[in-house]
């Protein structure tokens, strides 16, 4: 069996943790001092990808082909020139999307029969595809040129962005994306045609007559069960939503304590009834209720939830867990969770108990288990 390994993207570098003989430890740091916003392990090739945002010097992508020891800068997605005379439509907040890469917000491997295919979601809302392991990228024009895309607006950022890309393991032409704010969109033909698929989601932040419009929704994160990808979970700005039909419709799940607000969600890879969330006080304040970090878990498809706290800080803890900072491995037993205050926890029993790996890392943006 390979050594369990997880990659932690932080404001000051990429950290790799491994489980040695009985204990987890940080075994490697790369890009120390640099802002690593996201990492991906492609189980098909074994490649690792790291997205960096240098601020002054822009957004970059790096790839490692040896498990993370050596890295090489590869192409970053590049927006095409804006057509001559084109006047973009101003969205709700009045700032039209710039045709320029602001942030890499989603990285996903294509299907098992598509070696080298990667998807990349970005701010200000472009979805890119690579067919050569990230050596080059192409903007998905059907989605970008859809006039409804111009109605998207920023959620917590100046620009809208694609943060979730779910590739159906049964059929890689079926791709579902989550947009803050633009709802959920689905293609079933590999990206030639896209439709909004957020029916049932509710946006309390909109005027009453517009609250159920699919294209104004703010899903913070999407996850699906790999054994039954029609079962999807969404941690939405307004709460928790579930789909049992591949995003064709969504049902709101209410009454989950201590809160249904949060950013992260992870879905069990084999058990379609199990998912995890990390709640926070909604929605302007965004800290753990009563200063207690907890994870909520359902194991019955969302009918009931448990509040898991063993091993997590329960006194004056103000850790917020961002949308990509909760991950579950391929067994469904091991979870990793990282916070804005640099705490990193791992569970080996499906969230029943947690071990603190560090309380002193830089702010954590994302965690990513390697999958065989």
């Amino acid at each position: 069996m390979t050594v369990p390994r997880c990659h932690v993207s932080t404001r000051k570098g990429l950290f790799t943790i491994e489980r040695g003989a009985g204990a987890w430890s940080i075994t490697r740091t790369r890009f120390l001092g640099d802002n690593v916003t996201l990492a991906l392990h492609d189980a098909r090739s074994g490649h690792l990808f790291a997205a960096l945002n240098h601020g002054h010097f822009g957004v970059k992508l790096h790839r490692s082909e040896d498990g993370g020891a050596m890295w090489k800068e590869i192409a970053a997605p590049k927006y095409p020139p804006k057509p001559e005379g084109y006047v973009p439509k101003a969205p709700a907040e009045g700032v039209p999307a710039d045709w320029s890469l602001k942030l890499i917000w989603a990285l996903a491997a294509g299907g098992p029969g598509e070696p080298g295919v990667l998807w990349c979601g970005t701010l200000p809302g472009g979805l890119f595809r690579s067919e050569d392991n990230g050596d080059s990228w192409t903007l998905n024009r059907p989605l970008w040129d859809d006039p409804r895309r111009e109605e998207w607006f920023g959620g917590g950022a100046d620009h809208p962005g694609i943060h979730s890309v779910l590739v159906d393991p049964r059929d890689a032409r079926h791709v579902t994306i989550g947009v803050s704010c633009g709802g959920v969109w689905t293609t079933r033909d590999g990206g030639a045609n896209w439709e909004p698929t957020a029916t049932g989601m509710r946006a309390e932040f909109m005027p009453p007559e517009r609250q159920f419009e699919p294209n104004v929704q703010d899903p913070h994160m999407l996850a699906h069960c790999r054994a039954n990808p029609d079962v999807m979970w969404a941690q939405h700005h307004n709460g928790i939503f579930k789909s049992a039909d591949g995003a064709r419709s969504w049902t709101e799940i209410t009454g989950v304590q201590p809160s249904t607000f949060g950013f992260a969600v992870a879905a069990h890879p084999r058990d379609e009834g199990t998912a995890w969330f990390v709640p926070a006080v909604k929605d302007e304040t965004r800290y753990p209720a009563e200063g207690r970090v907890v994870v909520t878990r359902t194991r019955d498809g969302g009918r009931t939830f448990e509040t898991l706290s063993q091993g997590l800080p329960q006194h004056h803890a103000y850790d917020l867990v961002y949308r990509h900072a909760l991950d579950v491995d391929e067994t469904g037993d091991w979870l990793a969770c990282g916070s804005t205050t640099g705490s990193l926890w791992v569970s080996e029993d499906g969230g029943d108990s947690w071990e603190t790996i560090s309380s002193n890392l830089p702010p954590i943006y994302a965690v990513c288990f390697e999958r065989p």
Binding site: H54, G55, H56, F57, G58, K60, E73, A76, K78, Y79, P81, K82, D98, W99, S100, L101
Partner: protein, 89 residues
């Protein structure tokens, strides 16, 4: 020919030695410099070919006017400095 100098902070990511290159405008000077160092282009210019938001450029100590098209004239013998704007943190 103009002399192009870069902030030392960029050197950690991509080596940008001081060089003399031809060009009558900043765009021409950049094109000449980046022709021999294509990777550096993306660190200084965004994907629309504009000077990156938190970068600043000076020609003989004068901050440039045209960050979009980079049309500021560059006289023979001028010194072009590429630095970070403190607004970028």
């Amino acid at each position: 020919m103009a002399t192009v100098r870069f902030t030392r902070n960029i050197q950690r990511h991509v080596t940008c030695p001081t060089l003399e290159v031809p060009g009558a405008t900043l765009r021409e000077v950049f094109d000449a410099y980046f022709a021999g160092n294509e990777r550096a282009r993306g660190y200084v210019l965004d994907d629309g070919g504009r000077l990156r938001h938190h970068m600043a450029a000076f020609i003989d100590g004068r901050q440039i006017d045209d960050r979009e098209r980079l049309s500021d004239p560059v006289a023979p013998g001028a010194v072009v400095d590429i630095v970070q704007a403190l607004s970028g943190g």
